[in-house]
């Protein structure tokens, strides 16, 4: 209890009331899919952990736009989220104070240290020409792949959080024709034979709430409270794409506030229209909500201000695997088949062109119908049908005739 007092004192020093903190715990519990009865437990766990030593973390980056770091800095209840993220002590990141070799030293100290650490990785892993990792060559001749490998293969690397779609699968960077040879964390590590648990936070960008939820789960919710058991708990709760199930188990469409308009057939057909002003459903504008698994309508963005569809835009499915190839054209309701830059059907049938089910399907049906008409005319010309039809059924099956002939020949 004493330690908790200090914790709340510490909170108030940061201008965070106990109520704010509990609200934060409530929303984190909600994101984690825990019942509200768990909130006090969560609160005391966070309070307890804040007093008892910190888990080191490093934030490395590959082919990134810094958007995911930016996104993290936009946390809901920034001061409180701070506290949770303070359970991690960030020894190295793009925002760290040290520069050049001093930054590298700070980083090295972590993975040569004696405390398990968590690596947060932002950006695509770019292997360049033939896997040489030709971008981000350091002055000393090493490159970003070496950096990643050094950190990931450290004995102390407890888990990797692939922050954002680029780290998950290469993101837009890997979109056709994938000029920098980008790939995602799990794929790269398994190819390199490095065995570290990876948690994928899909989306471009990933959101701070998603990160906070995973950090809380890993640091505090293990069966015996250790980091190891926490990471095991996270790892046990991942879907096939390595994402925490509680974050990616429902489509945007499922809980979209405009869903009622969808069901009523109240649609936006043009931006800037009266319908848009009435917040009608943007499905005809190319919204990818129906096929995108993420919880944006519930978690929302930037301290719950809004989210893509609420603002009037469409969902472009940024949490989809290979999202640019798979969801472009974003204004179209349907993806064209093809343009996949991965999988057994990669590049088939055509990049960019592709087959559209309504166009190609209708065309194919039209061709068949035309062929049938032509066939009918042929049937008529051959006098098989119509008034002057002279069609006869064969006397004997061809097969039997052949056999008979063969037998006859044998005789």
């Amino acid at each position: 209890m004493g330690s908790e007092m200090t914790f709340y004192e510490n909170l108030s020093q940061r201008g965070v009331s106990r109520r704010d903190f509990l609200k934060f715990c409530g929303s984190t519990a909600a994101v984690l899919g825990l019942s509200s009865t768990f909130v006090p437990t969560l609160a005391s766990k966070i309070a307890g952990a804040a007093e008892s030593g910190l888990t080191p973390a490093i934030w490395l980056s590959g082919g990134k736009c810094t958007g995911c770091l930016e996104s993290t800095l936009q946390a809901t209840y920034p001061n409180v989220a701070d506290i949770v993220l303070d359970l991690l002590t960030l020894k190295y990141s793009a925002a760290s104070m040290a520069t050049g070799k001093y930054a590298l030293d700070a980083k090295k100290k972590v993975y040569q240290g004696n405390k398990p650490f968590i690596m947060i990785y932002e950006g695509a892993i770019m292997e360049g020409e033939n896997g040489s990792g030709y971008t981000m060559i350091n002055a000393d001749g090493t490159n970003s792949l070496d950096d990643l490998e050094a950190a990931a293969s450290s004995d102390q690397c407890a888990a990797i959080i692939a922050m954002g779609q680029c780290a998950v699968d290469g993101g837009w960077v890997r979109a056709f024709p994938n000029p920098s040879g980008a790939t995602g964390m799990s794929e790269y590590l398994s190819r390199r034979g490095i065995d570290v648990p990876v948690v994928n936070l899909a989306g471009c960008p990933a959101s701070p709430e998603e990160l906070t939820a995973v950090v809380v789960q890993a640091l505090l919710l293990g069966s015996d409270g250790t980091l190891e058991s926490g990471i095991a708990a996270v790892a046990a709760d991942l879907d096939r794409l390595g994402r925490p199930k509680y974050l990616y188990n429902a489509t945007i469409h499922d809980s979209c506030p405009r869903r009622g308009h969808f069901e009523n057939g109240e649609f936006v057909y043009r931006y800037g229209s009266e319908e848009e002003a009435k917040n009608f459903c943007v499905y005809p504008m190319g919204c990818k909500g129906p096929q995108t698994y993420r919880r944006c309508p519930m978690i929302r963005w930037n301290d719950s201000q809004s989210w893509c569809v609420e603002s009037g835009g469409v969902c472009i499915g940024c949490a989809t695997w290979n999202w640019v190839d798979n969801n472009a054209p974003f204004a179209g309701r349907h993806r064209r088949v093809g343009a996949a830059s991965s999988g057994p059907l990669a590049g088939w049938p055509l990049h960019g062109g592709g087959l559209h089910p309504i166009g190609t399907g209708a065309a194919l049906t039209g061709v068949v119908a035309a062929a049938l008409v032509a066939h009918g005319l042929g049937m008529k010309a051959a006098k098989r049908i119509g008034k002057n039809a002279t069609l006869k059924t064969e006397e004997m099956k061809e097969y039997d005739a052949k056999r008979l002939k063969k037998q006859g020949g044998a005789n």
Binding site: R14, S61, G63, C65, T66, G67, S71, L73, Q74, A75, D86, L90, K91, S93, A94, A95, S96, M97, T99, G100, K101, Y102, L104, D105, A106, M126, G128, S132, Y134, T135, I137, A139, G171, W172, V173, F176, P177, P179, C204, P205, R270, Y271, G272, S273, E276, W301, N302, Q305, S306, C308, V309, S311, G312, G313, V314, I316, A328, P329, G332, H351
Partner: protein, 541 residues
């Protein structure tokens, strides 16, 4: 070529991946190279896609300024259709969105990225709290709970765990050797001012988030807002949402006016030596930002214009994209050097080992040139252009802001801004000006809504043709160029602020703006080149 004896790789606290190598002789940098380390190939990815998709994809160039990229991209797509007119409502909404982006980005840069070069968190521990309040009152700086901030810092230090401050003192242990660590800064700065700085650093982190909330209200989320699609905006303003925006704008504006600007003016006198170096190429390019209803670049709130040192700093001309060419002989690209950027393409060299060969190819950045000259882009360029452009409707506003700030420092020549410290100051002055305008735009939008005829989106046809969008990101000029055929992108090119600023040498060996600015920078200790780091970060590269 002398061998570089300063290597800063990686440079942290910037957006992107940058390394700098430099030669220092007798305590002064005599030569420098800026190495852009990242290639992702957005131009290549966009080929063959639908023109309206560029808005979404190009935002991913930069997670700090996605809004600006989105705007430039939508403008390029719209420009393919010569008959397209952006509805007035959409113009205002885009201005507000962009204004919020600038507030966010400038505050983020000044505090999260640049401030720790000027503020020593370790020394803030020695501050006397009462004196800190007194100092803040004296300097007209808004106060905060300085005691709490100091306690929080003390806790970090006691715990022996400095988190992101780890190794921040260039190898010096700030607890064991506080005085040596303080040598990196100006030791004359009172501990109290450092404490104010640290306190503002933490406040700044909150304020950038508040500014970003405005983007989120209009654009759905930040980073990567969704509404400034080609044709206008998808966001339909409502009174309650505008109130939310205005409330936050006022909060941020108050922070800028009462905290950020007075603090800048309070700490600047301790770094006045930085007015003497880091001038760079002294050529400035601004495409202009924040449209007025004419939508001409010379009429923009921050007018488009370029200034060349050779013609005198007071001579402003209107820039045209036709004059932008890209040299690539020092970059890892295998394409014709010196092409117009609108005709350019992106082809990577093959067979290179991609090492930082300072005599040969050493960067992923192309070397953009305006009429064959390297140009500095960014707040300084915009402020200088607006200050010198007598024809601009914003001229008086910008002059007042700049002259006011210089007067506080006892200076009168605005060209003094062309320096390391001046660049930082120009950014903060611009922040204050943009904050003021953003509130005006909200009012303008309310008036527009009251007409009952406000339009926010108009159809366009971008299937065939080409178009350019020139705009400004917070960190500098931005040009997107799109070519389309049969509703598909056949070529897409961008010149970003980073390519201007971090440009490698051109074909004829002329240094880029950052490289040039580093030359002449005094370095006290080549193992701890904090002066060079300040020059680099002054550009918000």
């Amino acid at each position: 070529m002398a061998t570089p004896n300063i290597t800063m790789d990686p440079i942290t606290r910037i957006e992107g991946q940058l390394a700098v190598q430099a030669v220092a002789e007798n305590g002064v940098i005599t030569d420098a190279w800026a190495v852009s380390k990242l290639f992702r190939g957005i131009e290549v990815v966009l080929k063959g896609r639908a023109p309206e998709d560029a808005f979404y994809v190009t935002q991913r160039m930069c997670g700090v300024c996605p809004t600006s990229h989105g705007h430039a991209s939508s403008m390029a797509t719209e420009a393919v259709d010569p008959s397209f007119e952006l509805p007035n409502g959409a113009r205002i909404v885009r201005n507000i969105l962009e204004g919020a982006e600038w507030l966010h980005s400038h505050i983020f840069h000044f505090y999260a990225l640049a401030a720790l070069d000027y503020v020593n968190p370790a020394k803030a521990l020695q501050a006397n709290i009462a004196d800190t309040y007194a100092l803040a009152m004296e300097q007209g700086i808004g106060t905060a709970d300085f005691g709490a901030v100091q306690a929080r810092l003390a806790k970090l230090v006691e715990g022996g765990d400095l988190s992101i401050f780890t190794n921040g003192w260039w190898g010096i242990d700030p607890v064991a050797n506080p005085e040596e660590a303080d040598e990196l800064y100006n030791p004359d700065i009172p501990a109290e001012l450092h404490l104010i700085g640290v306190s503002q650093y933490l406040q700044g982190l909150e304020m950038q988030a508040v500014a970003a909330q405005i983007i989120s209200i209009i654009g759905g989320k930040f980073p990567m807002p969704m509404t400034s699609v080609a044709g206008g905006t998808a966001w339909m303003p409502r009174a309650d949402k505008l109130d939310d925006c205005l409330f936050r704008l006022k909060e941020v504006t108050a922070f800028v006016d009462n905290h950020m600007i007075p603090f800048t003016l309070a700490i600047a006198p301790y770094y006045l030596n930085e007015l003497t170096y880091g001038q760079g190429v002294k050529n400035f390019l601004s495409w202009g930002a924040f449209d007025r209803s004419t939508r001409r670049i010379e009429d923009r709130y921050l007018p488009g214009g370029f200034i060349k040192a050779a013609d005198g700093l007071t001579n402003v001309n209107r820039p045209m994209v036709e004059h932008v060419t890209e040299d690539v002989s020092r970059s890892w690209y295998d394409q014709e050097s010196g092409q117009r950027f609108t005709e350019s393409e992106t082809t990577i060299v093959t067979g290179s080992d991609f090492s930082q060969d300072l005599d040969g190819q050493y960067s992923w950045g192309k070397a953009p040139r305006y009429q064959r000259d390297p140009m500095e882009a960014g707040p300084l360029a915009r402020v200088i252009v607006a200050y010198m452009d007598q024809a601009s409707a914003s001229n008086a506003t910008v002059r007042e802001a700049v002259d006011g700030a210089l007067a506080v420092l006892g200076l009168d020549d605005p060209t003094i801004l062309v320096s390391t410290l001046g660049r930082v100051a120009a950014r903060n002055i611009e922040t204050a000006v943009a904050a003021k305008w953003a509130a005006e735009w909200v009012d303008e939008l309310v008036v527009e809504l009251r007409t009952g005829r406000a339009e926010f989106w108009a159809p366009y046809n971008s299937s065939n043709g080409e178009g350019t969008g020139t705009w400004e990101a917070p960190r500098g000029g931005l040009a997107h160029h799109i070519k389309t055929s049969n509703g598909r992108i056949t070529d897409y090119q961008l010149v970003t602020p980073s390519t201007w600023i971090l440009s490698p040498r051109s074909d004829d060996g002329v240094r880029g703006p950052l490289e040039e600015a580093l030359v002449g920078t005094p370095i006290r200790d080549i193992e701890k080149p904090i002066e060079a780091a300040r020059v680099v970060r002054s550009f918000d590269p």
